[in-house]
């Protein structure tokens, strides 16, 4: 596996040895752009070679759940099924079968496979604040905000912003909006009654 000689990230010219792993940016020999290049041992590591799994030699040996003709090398940490080397998916020192890996990703059970989250707290807060510009929309959005807060109170939040204060603020604003609409309705009914005599 040949190692690609480091290139300038700006002009793709090959860098000289003097430009690598320096503490200060050095000008690229070709485009003269100051460049800082940090290389790590992984750059020189050959890619991991996949394994196909060994065939069963004896009949009483444990076999892979998915490939009965192959010898089991691991068991799945989630479902416990025996796995051959081909089916064994290692993630952070845990071994999973492809099915559990996919299920874990889709259902968010394996956090490190999660690559997207909806921020319901932010959605609720925006839905509570933005319609205030045109007051009439709040009649519809305030109950929707309360629904979102109740429905997604326990939904996973952002990986890094883990406070629920947005939910709380959104709920308070929505309750105030509903109370405001209640007062408006009360006065409308009162004025209609007094008009009718």
């Amino acid at each position: 596996m040949p190692v690609l000689w480091p290139q300038c990230s700006n002009c793709r010219a090959f860098l000289s040895e003097d430009e690598l792993n320096q503490s200060e940016p050095r000008p690229c020999p070709a485009c003269k752009t100051p460049i800082l290049v940090d290389f790590f041992p992984a750059y020189f590591r050959p890619p991991a070679v996949g394994q196909v799994g060994e065939r069963l030699v004896l009949e009483d040996e444990a076999s892979c759940f998915y490939h009965p003709e192959k010898r089991a090398a691991q068991h799945c940490a989630a479902c416990g099924r025996f796995l051959c080397s081909l089916c064994d998916c290692e993630l952070q020192s845990q071994h999973y079968c492809p099915n559990c890996l996919e299920t874990g990703r889709v259902k968010g059970r394996i956090r490190n496979l999660e690559n997207q989250r909806i921020r319901y707290d932010q959605v609720a807060l925006s839905l509570a604040i933005l319609p205030i510009i045109t007051v009439y929309f709040t009649l519809a959005t305030a109950p929707l905000v309360l629904y979102l807060v109740c429905r997604h109170w326990k939904s996973p939040l952002s990986l890094v912003h883990r406070s629920r204060w947005r939910f709380v603020v959104a709920a308070i604003i929505a309750l105030l909006q509903i109370a405001g609409w209640g007062v408006v309705m009360y006065f409308i009914v009162q004025s209609l009654r007094s008009a009718n005599g």
Binding site: L4, W5, S9, S16, F40, I118, V160
Partner: protein, 202 residues
Amino acid sequence: MAEKEYQRLTRAKARPGLAVALLTRSSLWLGKDHLLVIDSNGFTETYKRFYFRDIQAITVHVTSRRAYWNWLLGIPAAVFALGGIPYVLLNPSAGTGAIITVSVIAAVFCLPLLVNNLFGPSCLSRIKTAVQTEDLPSLNRLRSTRTVLNRIRPLITQAQGEITAAEMLVLLREPSEALKSTPMGAATQTAMNQEASSEPQT
């Protein structure tokens, strides 16, 4: 108090290009054994993890973005601060309202200009693994980038082991000879050598 799973390395910064219009912002976080890049549009967050053991290289090159912004903000700032304010101050017919208006407009351009220069040179950072090369939009200023690099370099070294400069050069030299023998590689190398030889010796 429980230790936080992620520590903030950079604040959220806009991705360049069209993404600015879509309000996509990117931030960088430090996990136990990986870097986490979060692209957020306010309502959804997309995560990319770069495990320390997989990071092959981090490259940073200085860009001219700061200079562009300096021109873009500097010209109107100069017009209003050096031309507009003296004009309204010296003009007896200009009222207080005109002075305040011109000063506010000058401040609107001067303050971002000042901030742009306080942050230092702009740069573009890229992280390389065996299967991808990703831009890190949140590392767009050289000073903060170096601070972050100084923080994560020991963690990467801890995960991958250390390699001396001499060892690295040995590993790089051997296979690169084959690469340099390709037409494009040879052409680039020749151009590099010519450019290096044409430089005046100081």
